[in-house]
Symmetry: C2
Subunit: 233 residues, 2 copies
């Protein structure tokens, strides 16, 4: 195998994503799990050219290639322990979508909702179902091509049905009304999806979800989630 | 949007792929179009650790993230002219899978055929349907997760049916018998898939396909391809 100096590849962000998740806690574990969550892709000035998006509105879904910028580590480990396997079953890193990879690159498919002209950011892409933290750098955007990306026959290890278990969200004091109107139903969706780490099940523990500029605090007992405090960040 | 110095990302190859295509001519235009084409992924010594592959055999398909190393250019252009649109319709680069992108990164799904222990290269992955040139550097390998990567409802621009048109391959002098036995049917498949650039249709023109160590020369008239020479490279 001939190696070339250019095989070590340096990538510059073409865009950043704006989402309602300022940290990784509460982010859906994969793209598409919560399709109603909206995010906005804002291009860097050097790539803010409407021509580069010509024809993209004809696609229903896009691929995003991005960096796990909230989970960088100096060293990679050959095995990781996926949360969805309870956090105690080691799997090879190449058999998982874990962030802790030799090259910490993420791959997500999102629904393209709209291509929008904005006053301050030029043309942006409004997308649904992104599992990215706010401010994540994006290196490439590609159309999802059904004839080559869809594998109806694909099977895989620990595949998970959409929304394996949902929590019932209780907000007895109407605290979620402190959120902007257009963020309330998304917040309930994120809470119902159970943003706790899979292996924590202490009913007395108080959790905090940073979402859309607020800290939403809650407890969980069995399948019931109760909102206990909502405060601006 | 806060930018961090680590947003400029440097990636090191974790593996290289061995395919029968020493140059880009004849490579299927997308992964999966010719599923019977086999390739081998060989890990770099630093990543040649069987633990890193633990559990991967449970997946039917994998994603490869790689560099368009055979098509590097100094400057990106906002628009490209996809061959399948006849080479004369400009499309935004982010609306295509063109190699000529701001970050020249490729994304392909392949079928996982086998995880094999070899004498010289350690554990390798044998895969089907790769659209990569021989020696392409690979930066990441991820399992294809049906519940998040499959979009039965996806629609897109210039989607193309599998093997839109096939050529009838004629080999009146039995020249393809010069190829190794296990490469002959793959060669016929690649020829039938029409390895010419889409916009060339000159019946007197002689084409050469480099495949599996041989130069396979041929002409094409209407839907008939005729092999005229087969010589070792």
């Amino acid at each position: 195998m001939k190696r070339k100096p250019t095989d070590v590849m340096t990538m510059t962000p073409v865009a950043y994503i704006r989402t309602d998740f300022p940290d990784k806690f509460g982010i859906p574990r994969q793209s598409g799990l919560l399709p109603e969550l909206e995010a906005v892709i804002v291009f860097e000035p050097a790539f803010r050219n409407p021509d580069a998006l010509r024809g993209i509105e004809g696609f229903s879904h896009l691929w995003l290639i991005w960096q796990f910028s909230g989970a960088l580590r100096d060293k990679w480990q050959p095995m990781v322990r996926p949360p969805r396997l309870g956090g105690n079953t080691p799997m090879g890193v190449f058999a998982t979508r874990s962030p802790f990879r030799p090259n910490p690159i993420g791959l997500s498919s999102v629904r393209l909702i709209a291509v929008e002209q904005t006053e301050h950011d030029g043309m942006v892409l409004r997308v649904g179902g992104a599992d990215l933290m706010d401010g994540t750098p994006i290196y490439d955007i590609k159309p999802y091509l059904p004839y080559t990306d869809n594998h109806a026959d694909a099977s895989g290890g620990f595949a998970e049905p959409l929304r394996a278990h949902e929590l019932v969200v209780h907000d007895p004091d109407g605290l979620l009304e402190r959120l902007p109107t257009d963020k309330r139903s998304s917040a309930v969706t994120v809470l119902a999806n159970d943003p706790r780490p899979s292996y924590q099940h202490d009913p007395s523990r108080e959790y905090g979800l940073y979402f859309a500029g607020f800290n939403i605090e809650f407890t969980v007992s069995e399948n019931d989630l109760t909102v206990i405090r909502v405060t601006p960040l």
